[in-house]
Amino acid sequence: MYIHKSVCISPQHTFDKINLEDVVASAESKMTVIEPKYENIPLNILRRMGKAVRMGVGAAMPLVRDYPELNGIIIGTANGGMEDCIKFLYQVIKYDEGTLTPTNFVQSTNNAIAAQIGLSTHNNNYNITHVHRGLAFENSLLDAMMLLKENPNSTYLLGSVDEISSYNYNLEKLGGWYKKETITNSDLYKTNTEGSMAGEHASMFIVNNRKEGSSAKVKALKTLHTDNAEEVKAQLKIFLQNNLSANQQVDLFLTGEDGDSRHNHFYTSCEELFNERTAIARFKHLSGEHPTVVSFALWLSCFILSTQQVPSNIFKNTPDNYRDTKPINTILIYNNCKGLQHGFIWVEK
């Protein structure tokens, strides 16, 4: 599967002019997106959209314009639509189940984003929303890979959206998934406490089987559910053996280390599988933590592979001359959600 164009709306400068060297700092321990002007969406429609739908449609429209004949729309989201869900819930309680306005209810299901993209682009083809929390994007990616085996000449829109809404922020905070202390993203990996930092983003990709003009190739994907770091490491080892060609090495191991002291051992034990020829890098100081954050890592990987510009702030450890001399041809992404849902994505030039 080849990724062609991609768009990312994130807490960093990723939409218009991409600048990943000047990292935008978090505020109040949250990393919220820099929203563009959404010039592709008519104002009257834009006003009615919740933030998740707005981010998703806003990231999709610049891509869809160039690919009017898309064969399907595949979206991963864990919390998409939930802000509207809560708004409707407030109506139910406030008006004691009286006469309510349905707009929030209709937008409250997770499939509102994929549906709105389909509606905005008059696309009658395959349309699906995967919602498997921390693997919602990986399962969307798997769906796209299967579709391209089934329909080799097709082109799909693949993407993910998750927002910081009052709904999930409070629930996650209460659940102990965000740090109790106030921190900024520059210190995300320096603390030794439980919890990470809330984040949000939307990214969209055009995918097909055509190598020409592509920015990256997704070679393989593996997901698993376990709380055992040794099992994750063993599965990653098998994944490496299955996918590493002769004379090939992983140039960059990009991990979802999220500053939560309960998760560090998953990442450090997987890092042990690599020698000094592989640089170790992290991305959540750019995106914050959220269930479909791995698609930000995929967008970042496409950016690195196609431009050979590697933001200096992502390295965890690396040989001194790494950045100047070494081309990046192969990136392995490993992310886990809450120490239970794990995914490996193999991306190469």
């Binding site: 864990a78 919390n79 869900c85 809560i86 409707f88 819930l89 407030y90 139910v92 309680i93 004691d96 189940e97 006469t99 309510l100 349905p102 209810f105 209709v106 937008q107 409250s108 299901t109 997770n110 499939n111 509102a112 994929a114 549906a115 709105q116 389909g118 509606l119 682009t121 008059h122 696309n123 009658n124 083809n125 395959y126 349309n127 699906i128 929303t129 995967h130 919602v131 498997h132 929390r133 693997l135 399962n139 798997l142 769906d143 299967m146 085996k149 089934e150 009052s166 709904y167 409070n170 629930l171 905070k173 209460l174 659940g175 997901t223 698993l224 559910h225 376990t226 239970l340 849902q341």
Partner: protein, 395 residues
């Protein structure tokens, strides 16, 4: 290409809590639409619902669930999941293996706990035990954890067509070599949230719904769950198999967030593509389990789309006149009913029908009878224009 067969089924609905109990009620033409007894809402007595009259503590007890964070949506799923797995005689080792996939659909998820969610989303301390139970991924995660499933695990939400897409995704995982077997289905329970949501759209009928009737005036919400075990035919030569999943398709109506286009483009494309995948002519479909919600919009549009495809529309009916609209579970439950119809050569009637819609003249089946069925189609359409059709055929 390998054929995908159904080797196990499990279901719980207002009609009963097993495949056999549902089958008996379908033959008798029982209607289980009633007033609400277990969900607290203003509309408990004034609207009609397909409620399962088993309380959560009973379900927990029956299922040996001891955790304090399991919602009704997940309990219903576990009940149907267990029946399907036992029916297919999957061992615990097979269940936990790296090549067993699980795909669960839901559109209400843990929002059945409407009041708890309201509390938790406003709280800064003192969260309920359900903090991680509200999303639509919780059910699959719970089943995965309970049985140690190591293969691909996924959750799908395309509103009212969710579980059709779960079935389709599971079959494709097997066909593409990502799983040897897939346990697929959907679940949803009645909730103050959805009752008020559908009520705000003015599409809840004050009396029992009347699918495809000229005087229809809305749907009844229901609850339930169904799961199926899908396997590759050549992997299980000695197992009983109910049916072959021969066709499936997903299309989008791309017309309006909560209603279907006049011409039914999405339903038409889903049905047409599922026939193409099944390599069948329209005339080879002997029965259609329609989406048939009983709303003004759905039934007329679905009829029109059927008439576009079928020169002569085959016998059809809607199960929603007996169990209500079970949302994310609907397609999976209706799949189980369709497979029962197929494997027993039976047609189960639609209830409460008297007069056809003027513009279509179509009449659903209104009496139980024996009827040779080689291929059956099951439709489900959802908000957001998400339309899916499945085709099952005799072995």
């Amino acid at each position: 290409m390998s054929r995908i067969v159904v080797t196990g089924m499990g279901v719980i609905s207002a009609l009963g809590n097993s495949v056999n109990a549902n089958h008996d009620a379908l033959i008798k033409g029982t209607c289980c639409i009633s007033s609400l007894e277990l969900v607290k809402t203003k509309y408990a007595a004034t609207l009609r619902f397909g409620e399962i009259k088993i309380e959560n503590h009973q379900l927990k007890n029956n299922l040996s669930v001891n955790e304090n964070n399991v919602t009704r949506t997940t309990l219903l799923a576990l009940h149907a999941f267990n029946e399907a797995v036992a029916d297919s005689r999957l061992s615990n080792v097979e269940l936990a293996s790296y090549d067993t996939a699980l795909v669960a659909a839901s559109t209400v998820g843990g929002m059945c706990l409407t009041d708890e969610l309201y509390h938790d989303s406003n709280a800064t301390t003192d969260g309920s035990p359900y903090l991680a139970s509200y999303d639509c991924g919780f059910t699959a995660l719970y089943l995965q954890h309970r049985y140690g499933i190591k293969g691909v695990v996924n959750s799908v939400n395309t509103a009212c067509s969710s579980s059709a897409n779960a079935i389709m995704f599971g079959a494709r995982l097997i066909k593409n070599g990502f799983a040897k077997r897939a346990i697929v289905g959907g679940t949803d329970s009645l909730a103050k949230f959805t009752i008020n949501g559908f009520n705000s759209l003015n599409i809840l009928a004050p009396q029992n719904c009347r699918p495809f009737d000229k005087e229809r005036n809305g749907l009844n919400l229901g609850e339930g769950a169904a799961f199926l075990v899908l396997e590759r035919e050549e992997d299980v030569p000695s197992k009983k198999s109910y049916a072959v999943l021969t066709g499936y398709a997903n299309a989008n109506d791309a017309f309006h967030p909560s209603s279907l286009s006049e011409n039914g483009e999405g339903p038409y494309l889903a049905m047409k593509e599922s026939l193409r995948v099944a390599k069948l002519n329209p005339s080879q479909i002997n029965f259609i389990s329609t989406h048939g919600t009983g709303t003004e919009n759905n039934d007329e549009v679905e009829s029109r789309a059927m008439m576009r495809i079928f020169d002569s529309v085959p016998p059809f009916a809607s199960t929603k006149s007996k169990i209500g609209h079970t949302l994310g579970a609907a397609a999976a439950i209706e799949t189980v009913f369709s497979i029962l119809a197929l494997s027993n050569n039976e047609v189960y009637p639609s209830l409460n029908f008297t007069t056809p819609i003027e513009s279509t003249g179509l009449k659903p089946v209104t009496a139980f009878h024996k009827h040779n069925i080689e291929n059956v189609m099951a439709n489900s359409f959802g908000f957001g224009g998400n339309c899916s059709s499945l085709v099952f055929s005799k072995n």
